[in-house]
């Protein structure tokens, strides 16, 4: 349970940035 909490919350901390990077690349690609 503890590991699950740590794993989930680590994703909550890190993944929005990762997803954003891809989203921003997509938008930049569209703009170009």
């Amino acid at each position: 349970f503890d590991e699950l909490i740590v794993e989930t919350t680590t994703k909550r901390k890190q993944w929005p940035k990762k997803i954003l990077m891809h989203a921003i690349q997509t938008m930049k690609g569209e703009q170009e």
């Binding site: 503890d2 909490i5 740590v6 680590t10 909550r12 901390k13 929005p16 569209e30």
Partner: protein, 203 residues
């Protein structure tokens, strides 16, 4: 009993506060046990030097258990209090606090509908841009075509100009008047011709 996973704290610390406390508890408890064993072994060793002391190892073990039991009880009570204080005041994130990585939720509290509307607007802008871009292509294409057509038409006009310049060069500035004049004169001539013929017949 519902467990509070303290997930937000885990997001900040990188571990759950409960685990941290458990880790400390186990470590402290191990030390306490270890120290008790050390105390007991030291006493037993010292007793070797007093063979007439009539204190058996069993008695010492009993004493150790008695003291350890007492310490363990207090240890658990005190540790429980410490854990409570640390989980409330140190290893916790107050309700009104938002972690830096989540600031965006404070600045842009978008509902699903608002988000969808924003995405729809972006899609629509993209469609409009594409339409404008192709319209621009079509306009540019027509402008190119117009250039060609204009060039052709101007060529035709220049051709007419050339024609008129030739006429002018040969003294005929206005063909129409010249032909009308010629026609008039030729008719006159024909009239005169007829008169002449008529008179000649009479003669």
């Amino acid at each position: 009993m519902s467990v509070n996973p303290m997930a937000y704290e885990a997001q900040f610390f990188g571990f759950t506060p409960q685990t941290c406390m458990l880790r400390v508890y186990i470590a402290f408890q191990d030390y306490l046990f270890e120290m008790m064993l050390v105390v007991e072994s030291v006493i037993l060793k010292k007793l070797d030097g007093f063979p007439n002391a009539k204190i058996s190892a069993f008695q010492i073990r009993k004493s150790t258990e008695k003291f350890l039991l007492f310490m363990k009880e207090h240890f658990d009570k005190l540790f429980g209090k410490m854990e409570e204080v640390l989980l409330q005041l140190v290893l916790n994130i107050p309700k009104n606090v938002l972690l830096p990585e989540d600031k965006v939720h404070e600045q842009y509290p978008y509902t699903k509908e608002q988000f969808q509307a924003l995405q729809d607007e972006i899609d629509q802008l993209q469609q409009r841009y594409k339409a404008e871009a192709s319209a621009g292509q079509a306009l540019l294409a027509e402008i190119e075509e117009q250039k060609t057509v204009q060039a052709e038409l101007e060529k035709i006009l220049q051709w007419f100009d050339g024609l008129e310049n030739i006429c002018r060069a040969h003294g005929t500035s206005n063909f129409k008047e010249s032909f009308a004049f010629l026609t008039q004169n030729s008719k006159k001539l024909q009239g005169v011709l007829k008169d002449v013929e008529k008179k000649s017949k009479k003669l």
